[in-house]
Symmetry: C2
Subunit: 822 residues, 2 copies
């Protein structure tokens, strides 16, 4: 059975046919690579815009990955044929292109490498892929071991397709001096100005090795022949590769290495694959990464991936969750925050939420991101649709479509940053504006963003949606300038409630009052305009039609409109119960909560492009995890922690073959969606997009820290207010907080309903300073805040604390937690 | 052996492995389809911009076909699996995807259909593809015949992949009412304005049949399974297709039809495949083309393709040439002129030369094209880079790069049009300008274009090249505003020499004199600035460097600079001999004459993008047939008719397996290039681009008519001045000319060198009027113009003339012909 191995730092899938497209990803600051269990790959590097060095076999559209990215036999990948020279028998690893039945198969993605273990014909192949820590380069190691008990003659044939790189010029040859297959192309262009822009392009793709191949082939067609990739003509009848070149022919990097292995003997081959500008760059990369001690790069990689460390280490009864939250979730959060999703113009909303994730990984990066974003703000308070990360960057694609929600995320990320770091000094940093020579401090910037949000209202006092809010493709509700967003009204209310205390902290009481007054009015208007009897509508179109309501046959209910009504306090207790019931009935599925239902099956042109997406995919009624994370946040906020945990837990596949077959993905990352349309398209419901770019991970992490374990910072210290599932008898967490380390062992006391076990039972256990255990009692102070919430203050950086906390039933805790705003 | 069959109206290739990518094409006024012998296809229709209904399996770049278009197993195509239900044996037709060895194979493209005849397992499959005459629809007929002498149970499984149509929405299902697999998608977009632009899109792709399938599958992945396209899991172990659908999964239209055939019994299946806007359009297409009598469409098709009839019918000792010139060449010329290469903004140069081809097919279409182009001319005389064919059309891609040669082609096409039609009235047509409210007659328009050409000169009096002349990618010779084109100087001189007699015909003598004076000066300046001792240089760069000269290591000699020096009369006899020798030595190859040599192997940034194309491909030193046709024109002009014919003849592959393997294409169209770089990359030299969009065909046709057979119109009548190859003892031609039909049987008289047999030997043979042979002597008059040129005048429309003409050695004719300008 599939499972986490090596203390949760590696996953193991033992069958290439259960979830054929399941995958893992590696990245470094310059590139990223998505690799599926069968050897298909999508890789991309920044130059400064995203580029590829292995291509599909036809002129491709400019894109990275698509949801549920399809693979086909000639899709880019990295493959190894193995041929027994005595019998002519052959198979390919990891599985494609021959797809032979293997004696054993293991796909084992780790935190900083991807490994396969394959056995067939008495030969074991251990294939490992790492990236160079700081270059665009794949490093492959193939260990061959003879398990057969007799001497063997073998050929190992790495086949790395390079694909159709250019209609202008493409080819490839073996360069003996570099010991590399070097494929070249000229990136196609027509305008002379592009020639100058392309000067720095890495138009070479190379495969080099630590030993000379015995034979090679660069022409794909001559390799395949009439046999095809599953049985290449060039390898039939004991033939060796013909040392062919590709001259304006589809190139592939194919080398043949001959081995004679005694019984139990093993050998190792090392390969490097990547792009380069010229031969000297290949030589330098080869020297540094193929000829040098591989442990140097591994150390650098370990150091880099070591940064992907979060603020909690958990030990709960849910082993899958532990492994994911301790290793894979912070890794995904760090990937987002450090790579900016490999774009030069991240959407403002994504950029800010990814920065929110960095609060728990590398708060300084969050600080930089906030400053970077605010420097691109207009003096009116308006935020741009995307944040430009370099001078050459420009707003592209979806960032050319006007959205109205971007300022909302400023308050959310700032609030999280301040809770975690207490770095109120950030608010005083002076920054410029995109369209003015003035400067103003961060506090002023964000306050103006909030004011901007308060102003863009129609005659009813509801915020315009323009061509989209959080939901990008909801582009035709308000494109005529009238439509408004119910969700945005709620989000503004929530954002103001996060910002207003910060105003008060700054003694900006008048501003705070204005914001609070706006919240009051807004929540009233939300109820007046959007409440549909059982749930809140999603918006009002240019034509004045309220949608996302019970009269709608499709798109009757939208999750976000409920979640944020809970978050912003617009829903009273009665409304909450009705909404939760509606969500359970209409949106909940075994694979998570759908974002809307029923999914649209035809264009609704007063709602827009979202209704044209495949029903149950992406924003059209999938289990869109980002929205589900908002929902979980709102559930924790109103004390519905059992529901909240269930929502989060469903994002993580379990290990059974049945589950993996349905999901089609491994529990090593959160995908942006699982298919929804559960009642409309049951066959595909639950299928993962296998896209790991998603705002979900920052929220999931925050909820683990601040809600599930309830370990939230404030100006005085660390609040403790756990909302652990009732089913957990105990759970431990070690929390890194402002330089201190706090371990808390939560132990549940019986089945009591009322919360009679609180901070009084807290026991200080020991303290470790500078690695030495000291017997002294710590100076930590415990303040009782509410019956189920206490605060640790006077925690000292560099010190470790251990506490045991007896908690009562979570239900009780919740009924209290409701009183304290998030 | 491969050969023309059915009186040359069909070709037969008998092996799918000799020239795997060899292909044929079909088109109608709305679409076109390029089909290779193995079943791979590229199809496109106009909507109004080019669109596809069968896609590659990944997000594709916007394009039609690439030179040497690569195919791979999942490339779009149309395939038929055949399974013996008693034995489970299976093969696929026409060849892919199973690529089984067949008992017999014939790929038989015809003028208006494409046919395969396949035999395997005792079953004959005759597969025929036609297009609907006036709709975007493929019509397939499959005849199954049981040759095995015993009763058989068979399944025929058409597999028509639909591919990755959209990341927003794609899927497919079987619609029982339509008896069709209907695949749907939403063409991806992000901006709301595009939604409105896309309203009319045909986002459905359907496969319908004249009987209900017994089973079907729409999900490609479920069809392939672990087996792959060469052995689909869904067809293994006698399974029938599972009637699956595609829900945001890669769709394919796959039907399974069961048959029981007695010995010698046969059956027929008819299928329709194409795009539609909605189900009602599918229903209508099905009714009209699948349910109705197929002969109706065949008649309409025959009528349409019947328009592709040229003005000559030839009978020479070269059977391959006869079949090509009588059937396939006029078809290709008509395709260009009638479809405008399926673009809405043809390059001005292409548009005008394609119109020149129509002079011999449908002169009225040429007239319309000239008027259309001139209406888009600026009042300055400048021509735009592309001609917009609809209100929504815009200048795209290469048409956004400024080129300086466009006016040249006006004089060339006008001159050809007037020679053929004598329609001087066209010159009086009043037309507007793109940038003025004035109107002016066609004569004035073209004269201003010529004046514009005379004016854009540098201080040496040489014409600027800007970012390209005829050679699009020669974009950096003059992008700084200084570089000049030697070729363009020659082309201007030639164009003025064509236009000046027309000025004189119009009594615009002063204009004529100005043009003639410019020619005189220009030819002198060409010699002063470009003559390199043995040949003419190609241009002078922004930095003042003459290139295309003996000092250059790459790009030493450019064919166009020589051809047009011959055409414009800049080269004297001594120069001509030197140039021809240089061409023979440096540019001639067994596959034609290369456009330049040596091909550039690295960027030369004072020449431009042409130097970055793969050496020997396209404009970088291939046998670029368009340029070769110019060269042949110039050779005929200077009396080098043997050389000229050889240049043309090399464009047409012969039937031997060796030749077809090298060329990789069939003699059913002229490709835009064959690989050159003969001395640099001998392995690939001669390989066809398999692109049939090329200005070559119009010139080739004109040369056949006006030079090889020497049947050229003038104001008085039809000149006869043949330049037949010396090796031909005789040749016949029937020439349609201004409504009359003239058959001339040329008979060579011995080996005499001097041309002593001329029009005196002309014998009027008979005359046919209205289908009745009349014994009267025709009223045709014969005027002796030079020793080897006579003119037929007083030919009457609707009459047929038959003459026998004894000719002497062609050499002799040529030495005379030199005196008469083209």
């Amino acid at each position: 059975m599939a499972k986490f191995i090596e203390q949760g730092t590696r996953y193991q899938l033992d069958d290439p046919c259960i979830a054929p497209n399941s995958a893992a990803y590696l990245w470094n600051p310059k590139m990223m690579l998505h690799m599926n269990c069968r050897g298909f790959a999508v890789s991309q590097y920044m130059d400064p815009e995203p580029r590829k060095y292995a291509h599909v076999p036809n002129l491709a559209g400019q894109s990275f990955m698509q949801p549920e990215q399809p693979y086909f036999s000639h899709h880019p990948g990295r493959f190894f044929y193995l041929r027994d020279e005595q019998t002519g028998e052959m198979f390919s690893a990891p599985y494609e292109p021959m797809k032979s039945q293997l004696d054993s198969f293991a796909f084992e993605p780790g935190l900083s490498d991807i490994r396969w273990r394959i056995e067939k014909l008495g030969i074991e192949l251990v294939i490992t892929l790492e990236l160079a820590a700081d270059e665009v380069l794949e490093l492959w190691t193939v260990q061959l071991r003879n398990l057969s008990g007799r001497a063997r003659r073998l050929s190992l044939i790495p086949y790395f397709p390079v694909g159709y790189s250019s209609w202008m010029n493409m080819g490839g040859r073996f360069d003996a001096q570099l010991n590399a297959i070097v494929c070249s192309c000229v990136t196609p262009y027509q305008k002379v100005e592009d020639y100058f822009k392309h000067q720095h392009f890495k138009d070479l793709t190379f495969l080099t090795a630590d030993r000379a191949p015995d034979f090679y082939e660069v022409g794909l067609q001559r390799f395949e022949g009439e046999g095809g990739l599953h049985n290449p003509s060039a390898l039939q009848d004991g033939q060796n590769l013909a040392n062919g070149e590709a001259h304006y022919e589809m190139p592939a990097a194919i080398m043949q290495f001959s081995y004679e292995l005694l019984a139990d003997e093993s050998t190792e081959l090392r390969l490097g694959f990547g792009p380069a500008k010229d031969e000297s760059e290949i030589a330098a990369l080869k020297q540094r990464f193929i000829e040098a001690d591989p442990s140097l790069n591994r150390q650098a990689l370990a150091q880099y991936i070591g940064e992907a460390k979060g603020v909690i280490d958990i030990d709960t009864p849910d082993a899958q969750l532990n492994d994911f939250v301790n290793h894979w979730l912070p890794r995904q959060v760090f990937y987002h925050g450090d790579s900016n999703r490999l774009t030069t113009d991240p959407q403002t909303r994504n950029y800010l939420q990814d920065a929110m994730g960095m609060v728990y990984i590398k708060p300084q990066a969050c600080r930089v991101a906030i400053i970077t974003a605010l420097q691109q703000q207009a003096v009116s308070g308006e935020m741009p649709d995307g944040i430009l990360l370099s001078d050459e960057a420009e707003l592209k694609y979806i960032n050319q479509v006007p959205h109205t929600d971007h300022p909302v995320w400023l308050a959310i990320v700032l609030s999280a940053y301040l809770r975690e770091t207490n770095d109120y000094a950030l608010l005083d940093e002076p920054l410029g504006w995109a369209d003015s020579d003035e400067t103003a401090c961060v506090f002023e910037h964000v306050s103006r963003a909030m004011e901007y949000l308060c102003q863009a209202n129609d005659e009813r006092g509801l915020p315009y949606i323009a061509q989209g809010d959080w939901c990008d493709p909801m582009n035709m509700v308000g494109y005529q300038g009238k439509g408004v967003s119910g969700w945005l009204a709620e989000a503004i209310s929530y954002a103001l409630q996060l910002w207003s205390p910060i105003c008060r902290q700054r003694q900006a009481n008048e501003r705070a009052e204005r914001f609070e007054a706006h919240v009051g009015g807004l929540n009233q208007r939300i109820n007046q305009n959007f409440w549909d009897g059982q749930w809140f509508g999603r918006g009002i179109t240019d034509q004045g039609v309220l949608f996302g309501v019970s009269d709608d046959k499709e798109g009757r209910i939208f999750l976000n409109a409920q979640s944020w009504a809970l978050l912003c306090g617009a829903a009273n207790g009665e409304q909450q119960q009705a909404m939760l019931q509606a969500i359970d009935q209409q949106l909940d599925t075994p694979y998570g909560v759908m974002m809307s239902a029923p999914a649209f099956t035809a264009m609704r042109d007063d709602v827009g492009r979202v209704t044209q997406k495949w029903p149950g995919s992406a924003e059209n009624g999938s289990v869109y995890n980002h929205a589900a994370a908002f929902y979980a946040t709102s559930l924790y906020t109103v004390g519905e922690s059992e529901r909240a945990f269930e929502v989060l837990r469903k994002m993580l596949p379990d290990n059974s073959a049945e589950e993996l077959a349905v999901r089609g993905q491994l529990p090593v990352y959160l995908p942006n969606y699982y298919r929804g349309a559960y009642y409309q398209y049951p066959r595909t419901a639950g299928r993962s997009s296998n896209l790991f770019n998603t705002g979900t991970c920052a929220w999931f992490y925050q909820l683990m820290v601040e809600q599930l374990f309830g370990l939230r910072g404030d100006e005085q210290g660390l609040r403790v207010q756990p909302q652990l599932p009732q089913g957990w008898p105990s759970a431990s967490v070690t929390r890194q907080f402002r330089g201190a380390s706090v371990r808390i062992d939560f132990v549940r006391e019986g089945d009591k309903v009322s919360g009679d076990v609180g901070p009084a039972n807290l026991v200080e256990h020991n303290r470790v300073t500078n690695g030495k255990r000291t017997p002294q009692v710590s100076s930590v102070r415990i303040e009782q805040l509410t019956e189920h919430c206490f605060r640790l203050t006077e925690l000292k950086a560099g010190q470790h604390y251990h506490l045991i906390c007896h908690i009562g039933s979570v239900t009780a805790v919740h009924s209290q937690a409701e009183a304290s705003s998030l």
